[in-house]
């Protein structure tokens, strides 16, 4: 099996290449919804899940079993992440207007923002896998324990950890840039 950190870096590299092809401004249009989603996760994610689970328990008397509960909760975060990513890449609505910076500078910036988007997507998915103790191991998709490098990344370097308190400011900043443009 391939170590999870290798998959993480490969996904980031792929998104970097996608960014290189799509250009700086389009990639910036993907960064904004991803940051908004991260903010929504941090502010509402767990509460929303508790509300739904509480509602289910009251209305139908059904509560998630402990074995599959984490898998369902983790799936909620990952499926919404994939959904928002798909919309962000597919739609043109949030793309920043104008033409990309010229020359090699434009390429480098597009690569950089592509890598950042890859980090946000792959890192967020990993964060919620780690948060729910890798529930996909019941499906045989991951084997624990993680390598020391993977443990270090999972503990300190994933987007919700790194960006946590900065998310409202980043959302505000990117929206201002979008409006001015």
């Amino acid at each position: 099996m391939v170590p999870i950190e290798i998959v993480f870096f490969i996904v980031i590299a792929i998104f970097g290449l996608v960014g290189l092809v799509r250009g700086f401004l389009r990639e910036l249009g993907v960064t904004l919804p991803l940051i908004v989603l991260l903010w929504a996760y941090s502010a509402l994610g767990e509460r929303l899940l508790r509300l739904v689970e509480g509602g289910m328990a009251k209305a139908a008397g059904y509560s998630l079993p402990t074995t599959t509960g984490d898998l369902v909760r983790c799936s909620f975060f990952i499926v919404t992440l994939i959904f928002v990513t798909f919309i962000a890449y597919q739609g043109e609505t949030l793309a920043f207007g104008g033409s990309d910076p010229p020359g090699i500078q434009g390429w480098l910036l597009a690569l950089l923002i592509g890598l950042v988007n890859g980090y946000l997507i792959a890192g967020t998915a990993w964060y919620y896998l780690a948060h729910y103790n890798y529930p996909i191991q019941t499906l045989g998709m991951i084997q624990l324990p993680l390598t020391p490098l993977a443990q270090a990344i999972a503990s300190h370097a994933l987007p919700p950890d790194v960006l946590g308190p900065l998310l409202p400011f980043l959302v505000f900043f990117l929206i201002i840039l979008r409006i001015i443009r």
Binding site: F24, G98, P102, F173, R181
Partner: protein
């Protein structure tokens, strides 16, 4: 920051928190950044970043090269290149202690400092040489003393110089990251700050610094992109 006068009078004890020292560095370099072209500051940032990354591994990849070059210079200085029998000179040179001793922390510290300072100076001067033009004087624009044309460019110039100031601040942060744990956290210096506190402050600020770097690049690209 605490300033207190000793009972005997005259002597002052200066106690600085790690945050204060980091802020002093950031503020000073941010001021320099506000006075310089953004491209120069970005190049300077690249040099400091390279120096910081090398210092994280104690410049170990450079040590063998530095020692070899040092021996070659000694060999040449002692006339090894001019004599018919260079072997005795080479043997004598080999017996000399190396320029950098990887087992000596003091030697490593000086080598690290030398590499960091050299890279900083090279990249600083390279920026000055590549882009000779001075940035527009913001003060004259703000006070409406500039020409009509320069006043019309005010928002763009302000944003550019603001970005330059932020990059300058980041440069200050990198310099603080290098200097504080190595020099100001010592016990014999005039300004004393606890080493662990310094590391805590720097490590905690690092994530913000990384985010600010990305924001600077975003703003730079956003500025460079042409409107439709």
């Amino acid at each position: 920051m605490l300033l207190s006068r000793s009972p005997q009078g005259g002597l002052q004890v200066v106690e600085l928190t790690a945050t204060t020292v980091v802020l002093i560095f950031v503020g000073f370099f941010a001021y320099l950044g506000s006075r310089r072209d953004l491209r120069k500051e970005l190049l300077f940032f690249a040099g400091l970043l390279l120096g910081t990354l090398l210092s994280l591994v104690d410049c170990k990849p450079l040590m063998p090269i530095a020692n070899r070059v040092f021996r070659l210079i000694l060999f040449a200085v002692k006339g090894g290149a001019m004599t018919d029998d260079p072997l005795p000179i080479w043997e004598a040179v080999k017996k000399r202690p190396p320029l950098v001793n990887p087992a000596d922390p003091k030697s490593i510290l000086w080598f690290n400092t030398g590499v960091f300072v050299t890279l900083a100076i090279i990249f600083y001067l390279l920026g000055n040489r590549l882009w000779r033009a001075q940035p527009p004087n913001i003060l004259s624009i703000l006070t409406m003393a500039g020409s009509k044309k320069s006043r019309s460019q005010m928002p763009r110039v302000l944003l550019t110089q603001l970005t330059s100031t932020v990059v300058g601040g980041l440069n200050g942060f990198l310099v603080a990251m290098f200097v504080i744990p190595r020099y100001l956290a010592a016990t014999q210096t005039l300004v004393v700050i606890p080493g662990t506190a310094a590391w805590d402050v720097l490590a905690h600020s690092l994530r913000y610094a990384i985010v600010v770097v990305f924001l600077v690049f975003i703003v730079r690209g956003w500025q460079q992109a042409k409107r439709r």
